[in-house]
């Protein structure tokens, strides 16, 4: 329950970022390079104007973290929605139609599943970056990242939904719907799908956590959000080299911020899984 409250706080911070952050890190008028690498307030040389200090470009850490969280959440939820959409359409078709459709779709899912999804995401990201050029890639970063992470991890949903559709499709209500002559499409989406959605809910939360981590990883590799519009991953990337000069806060604060956020989602996901599906629970 505590994790739920913390998650709500995180979400509120992300949504209200433009109003509550001390400064707008996207606006270059607010940024003064003379303010760069100021340590957090409580350390020597810190100033109360910048509670958690500033980064190498003179931006307030706290504000960049609020805005970064916002970007990470937008991409994370967007990407998982895309994964769920592809997964539901394909998994539902495979599970309900069976036969050749099932064999082909699930083979494709199996094959993609045999490669680590992070690897797939990194590769698609690399190709997109070369295809669009670094400039336009950075402009389109949010939709592109959503697409990349969405494409890289859909088999998880497809498999889950297929398994529960297989269980549902021979029940009496589906039989009844078939007997009164409803079209297949209607039965699939109006009757079977709503009853198979619990399993999607169970993995949705965990998938958001992993999508946010993928986004951070891509941004850290330089295949994600540019430093001018940072997500948490690109903040960590930007601050990485400054730990050698002792300015640890540039990278450690966004890092811890990301860890706590992902940890909270994971805890919530574990809890949801236990509540919605006690049978799945194991150690």
């Amino acid at each position: 329950m505590a994790s739920f409250i913390v998650l709500v706080i995180f979400l509120i911070l992300a949504i209200t970022a433009p109003w509550i952050s001390p400064m707008n890190p996207y606006d270059s008028h607010n940024i003064d390079i003379m303010n760069s690498e100021i340590p957090p307030m409580w350390m020597e040389g810190g100033s109360p104007e910048f509670i958690l200090g500033t980064d190498n470009m003179g931006r307030d850490m706290l504000s960049t973290m609020f805005y970064g969280l916002r970007t990470s959440i937008i991409i994370g939820i967007g990407a998982v929605s895309l994964q769920a959409f592809i997964g539901i359409v394909l998994g539902l078709s495979a599970g309900y139609m069976g036969g050749k459709t099932d064999a082909i779709l699930m083979r494709i899912a199996d094959i993609q599943f045999s490669f680590p999804y992070l690897m797939v995401a990194i590769f698609i990201g690399a190709v997109f970056q070369l295809l669009f050029g670094v400039g336009s890639y950075e402009r389109l970063a949010i939709p592109l990242l959503t697409l990349i992470i969405g494409l890289s991890n859909w088999p998880m949903f497809a498999r889950t939904i297929r398994a529960s559709v297989m269980g549902e499709k021979n029940k009496e209500y589906v039989e009844a719907a078939r007997v009164i002559g409803l079209p297949r499409f209607t039965i699939m989406f109006r009757h079977v799908l709503p009853n198979s959605l619990t399993s999607v809910m169970v993995i949705f939360t965990i998938q958001v956590a992993s999508a946010i981590q993928s986004e951070a990883a891509l941004s850290f590799l330089g295949l994600g959000m540019p430093v001018t519009r940072p997500s948490l991953g690109s903040l960590i990337r930007a601050g990485q080299e400054y730990i050698f000069s002792g300015s640890w806060w540039i990278t450690i604060f966004p890092g811890l911020w990301l860890v706590v956020f992902v940890l909270v989602i994971n805890l919530l996901g574990d809890w949801l899984r236990d509540v919605l599906n006690p049978k799945l629970y194991k150690g």
Binding site: A103, M119, F123, L130, G246, T251, I252, G255, V259, N266
Partner: protein, 327 residues
């Protein structure tokens, strides 16, 4: 069984064909083989001539067939940043990555086994509670952050371990291909931090897995029987229970090492480790398409090969898999 093996091999070949087709499409769309060969200081006329001679104006299918034929001979194009055949660049950097994976596997085995068994035998002890909560935290920690924290702690603050590179290496076979860091003190010191960060992602998973498998086994009838026979606890735990925990753990271990491979890209970037992931990022940054595609083909090839072999071995062990694949 024979039909199963054939089917599995055909599938592997089809996957490789699809991957090479994807790779080749990318290459023909954004690659520039003329530049790869002669660099950028040639006139447009000379370029056109070379392009014609290299057959770059041929139909797509002919070019693709040529690409596959050359790939089968081990020619995956030339990397212009290294000015060497792309495959050779990858092969030369592979041992560095492999050593990271070996080091990581060693850490996982020697840490997760004792901790997992301990927390299964005494689930309420302080140590196992600490292990379990720590492993929840570990799952949520991105590997690059672990790496940065480790560098900050051990290299910047305490200054007891090096922060980047491979250190002193020894040429293993005397032909310059496999330079190992395991044989020198300096090389081993350089391995510690990258391997620690890599193993941090998998450790929580393995400790949990070993714990839950072991606890399940401990509840079975034959363990109760062993207790009733009056065997010593050590023998029941280590010989009877542990041996049967091992099979699922080994299975997952194989899969997870594949996933760990994806994370080496991140680790190699943080530690400036000259492995395959590092040259991949270099290829992306400087748009060396040939190297990028060679990387795709090699990595996909290794994955497909390993998966196929594992599946076939499973087919021998567990006959139900052979039937499930038929449909």
């Amino acid at each position: 069984m024979f039909a199963f093996i054939i089917r599995r091999i055909i599938q592997a070949v089809v996957v490789m064909m699809v991957i090479s087709l994807v790779g080749f499409s990318i290459k023909s769309k954004i690659g520039d083989p003329v530049r790869d060969l002669v660099g950028e200081r040639v006139t447009p006329e000379e370029r056109a001539q070379i392009a014609d001679k290299m057959g770059l104006n041929d139909p797509f299918l002919i070019q693709y067939t040529r690409f596959v034929k050359q790939a089968l001979k081990g020619d995956l194009g030339r990397s212009f940043i290294y000015n060497k055949p792309a495959l050779e660049v990858i092969v030369r950097h592979a041992p560095a990555t492999l050593e990271l994976l070996i080091g990581t596997a060693l850490i996982i085995i020697f840490v997760s086994l004792p901790l997992g068994i301990q927390s299964a035998l005494q689930p309420r002890s302080l140590l196992s509670r600490f292990t379990m909560s720590f492993s929840t935290l570990g799952v949520s920690m991105p590997v690059f952050l672990t790496a940065i924290l480790l560098i900050y702690l051990f290299a910047v603050n305490l200054q007891i371990l090096p922060s980047y590179g491979r250190g002193e290496t020894v040429d293993l076979f005397g032909n310059g291909y496999w330079k190992t860091g395991f044989l020198t003190h300096d090389g081993r010191m350089h391995l510690i931090l990258p391997c620690l960060s890599l193993s941090s992602i998998m450790l929580p998973l393995f400790i949990r897995l070993i714990r839950s498998e072991m606890m399940e086994v401990l509840e079975t009838e034959y363990i109760k029987y062993a207790w009733a026979k009056g065997l010593s606890p050590a023998r029941i735990w280590m010989v009877h229970a542990f041996k049967n925990t091992l099979l699922p753990v080994i299975t997952v271990f194989g899969v997870q090492m594949g996933i760990t491979f994806a994370f080496t890209i991140l680790t190699e970037l943080v530690f400036q480790w000259q492995g395959m992931g590092f040259i991949f990022l270099e290829a992306v940054e400087r748009s060396d398409i040939s190297l990028l595609i060679a990387y795709l083909v090699v990595v996909a090839g290794v994955f497909v090969l390993v998966n196929t072999v594992v599946d076939i071995i499973y087919g021998f062990i567990n006959p139900t898999i052979r039937i499930a694949g038929t449909r």
